[in-house]
């Protein structure tokens, strides 16, 4: 019984639509759980700036507030280990997701970002049997998710052996930054870019940058944002444009919530859990688009049963 347990969400960043969707999913699902008396409280906390030190301080404060479990989307996989160790030492259950932490005492709900990057290339290899030149849009330098996805992409390129990455820019997972970076580098690239591998949140910006030139539109892998899906749909209707879209679902925060609840409930839960990423393809585009809020991100929310299934699957 966890009806007297209190769970906190420690979030390091709220400045984009993905994070906002994540917070909303949390609010919706945990709000219901609190109303149903499953847990006593499930409060969300966000730091003012996306900074390791600030989140470390936040976690320490959550310990002081006596939460029984802290669910973390971490600013850094390593930088919070000191604070996480303090939490574990104080008997607090720590569950990390999306941005996971490496401190062994914490649980991790990981997405295989490397696989995600690799899948992008594999998809392109399917679509473009003769290969060609690729443009890579990376995320924020020095953040591990960026390294993971990029490593997967490069691994995919090496494995398939028919692509060459002719340009790489940092788009900081932001539409306008990606647009600017791509617009800057495009003129210097060969004319035959066949594909753009991305990390999410940057596909539409890349499309805009290509639009501004008279180049052929390459296959741009999308990242599940509403604007990306909408653009894709328009292109699909107009000229049969094909691509795929992949990202981690923001609702994974709710999975982390249920996992934390299960741990508090005494369930035996392995330290490492994996969730699949949310992939949208040509045939289920319309369905997913319809389910995505205008301006938001394609999402999946989890129930207690989903969580139990994930836990059972990992054992």
């Amino acid at each position: 019984d966890t009806s007297d347990k209190r769970i906190a969400l420690s979030n390091n960043y709220a400045g984009n639509s993905w994070r906002q969707a994540m917070l909303r999913s949390w609010e919706k699902v945990t709000g219901q759980a609190v109303a149903d008396g499953v847990v006593a409280a499930a409060d969300a906390f966000t730091t003012a700036e996306n900074q390791v030190t600030e989140q470390a301080a936040q976690i320490q404060n959550l310990i002081l507030q006596g939460y029984d479990a802290i669910v973390i989307n971490a600013a850094s996989p390593e930088g919070l280990n000191g604070a996480v160790a303090e939490a574990c030492g104080a008997g607090v259950v720590v569950v990390s997701f999306d941005g996971i932490v490496t401190e062994p005492c914490a649980w991790r709900i990981a997405v295989d970002f490397k696989q995600m990057g690799k899948d992008e290339v594999l998809y392109l290899a399917d679509q473009l049997p003769e290969g060609g030149n690729l443009l890579e849009i990376r995320g924020l330098a020095g953040v591990f998710v960026d390294d993971e996805i990029s490593a997967g992409i490069h691994e995919g390129v090496a494995e398939t052996g028919k692509f060459e990455i002719v340009g790489s820019v940092h788009g900081n997972w932001a539409q306008d930054v990606a647009q600017k970076a791509v617009a800057g580098i495009l003129p210097s690239l060969p004319d035959d870019i066949v594909g753009v591998v991305t990390q999410g949140g940057d596909g539409y910006g890349a499309a805009q940058a290509f639009n501004a030139t008279n180049r052929d539109m390459p296959i741009i892998v999308m990242g599940n944002r509403h604007d990306e899906l909408t653009w894709w749909k328009e292109q699909k209707d107009a000229n049969g444009y094909e691509t795929m879209s992949v990202s981690i679902a923001p609702g994974v925060s709710t999975l982390a919530f249920w996992v934390a609840q299960q741990i508090l409930d005494g369930a035996e839960v392995p330290k490492d859990l994996t969730v699949p990423f949310l992939r949208i393809d040509q045939d289920n585009l319309e369905e997913n688009l319809a389910n995505t809020e205008a301006g938001g991100v394609a999402n999946v929310e989890y129930t207690l049963e989903d969580a139990q299934a994930v836990i059972a699957g990992a054992k």
């Binding site: 906002q20 340009g167 900081n172 539409q175 970076a181 800057g184 495009l186 210097s188 805009q208 301006g295």
Partner: protein, 312 residues
């Protein structure tokens, strides 16, 4: 010739030219014209905010507006959500964005004046509040801009981006404002010595208020145009404008100690900053090397620009 060498804006333009040539050499001239066109477009956004920031910085040591990113975000999100893609709402959206900017400026100035908080801290603190307001307003949803507005921001006239032309005109107006009006003289006087300016009959507080309000209004305008240009407002869309706006102003030859400003340098520095990143991207440098080089080149330009001065 020596008169030209002493122009404060010269070095920014030389820097821009040098990195552009370096890029062109590397790519054997391919796409150089397009790079320039892209630089004009993106440089225009920098110049809009830098114009306001320049007037603020000229007010003297410690004067700087750190709320530009938050103001851009707030104005952009509110305008986009209000217009909701409807062409008929474009003017209303613009007015709204400008009004939000002006409001932000009023709040900033009130903090500085009434609560005597140093500008750097006042605008930093207020920016958190504006950022929260933007989140609260539409929680990061990305609303598309009206088609016509987006087209305007991406349109070209004889190969030159329309927005760049508009911003060049704005810069000319800024130059006239700085050098040929009582307001502009006042700003420069305050930047050199606020007490002396007051005692020389300059309406110090009126001018300071006007400057902070103008700066934030320009940030609002930039937020509006940028979100139209990039297909909607994002909560993090202004982030890189925080340091860039300062860098553009100072690389452009305006004195950070206040009391001395110039507008032509803004365009030079904005182009320089964009072309620099493009050059390093083109060279295929890794993130670490790219950052180190960016920093060193910025310092290099400043050192070169100070060539005339002797150490004191």
């Amino acid at each position: 010739m020596t008169a030209l060498l002493r122009k404060p804006w010269l070095w920014a333009w030389l820097g821009a030219l040098a990195v552009w040539l370096a890029t062109a050499t590397f790519t054997h001239g391919r796409g150089s014209a397009e790079v320039l066109s892209a630089a004009l477009t993106f440089g225009a956004f920098f110049v809009i905010v830098a114009l306001g920031q320049m007037f603020v910085i000229t007010l003297g040591p410690g004067n700087v507006d750190l709320s530009i990113p938050a103001c851009m975000t707030l104005a952009g999100t509110v305008a986009m959500k209000t217009m909701d893609g409807a062409a008929s709402m474009i003017p209303l959206g613009l007015v709204l964005a400008l009004a939000i900017g002006a409001g932000v400026g009023v709040i900033n100035y009130a903090l500085i004046r009434l609560l005597r908080i140093p500008p750097i801290i006042a605008t930093l603190s207020s920016s958190f509040i504006f950022q929260s307001a933007a989140i609260w307003w539409n929680r990061g949803l990305r609303v598309k801009p009206p088609e016509a507005l987006a087209d305007f921001t991406t349109a070209k006239l004889a190969g030159v981006p329309v927005i760049a032309i508009a911003v060049v005109l704005m810069a000319v107006a800024g130059h006239v404002l700085l050098t040929r009006t009582i307001y502009g003289r006042g700003v420069v006087a305050i930047g050199q010595n606020m007490r002396a300016a007051h005692l020389a009959g300059v309406r110090v507080e009126r001018i300071r208020a006007a400057t902070y309000i103008m700066c934030a209004t320009l940030a609002g305008l930039c937020g509006y145009l940028l979100s139209a240009f990039s297909g909607g407002a994002a909560l993090n869309m202004g982030e890189e404008y925080l340091l860039s706006s300062i860098a553009v102003v100072v690389i452009g030859g305006t004195s950070v100690a206040g009391g001395f400003a110039n507008v032509p340098g803004l365009w030079g520095a904005a182009l320089f900053m964009f072309l620099l990143v493009t050059m390093l991207n083109t060279f295929g440098a890794g993130a670490g090397v790219r950052l180190v080089l960016t920093g060193l080149i910025i310092i290099g330009v400043i050192v070169a620009a100070s060539g005339g001065k002797r150490g004191t």
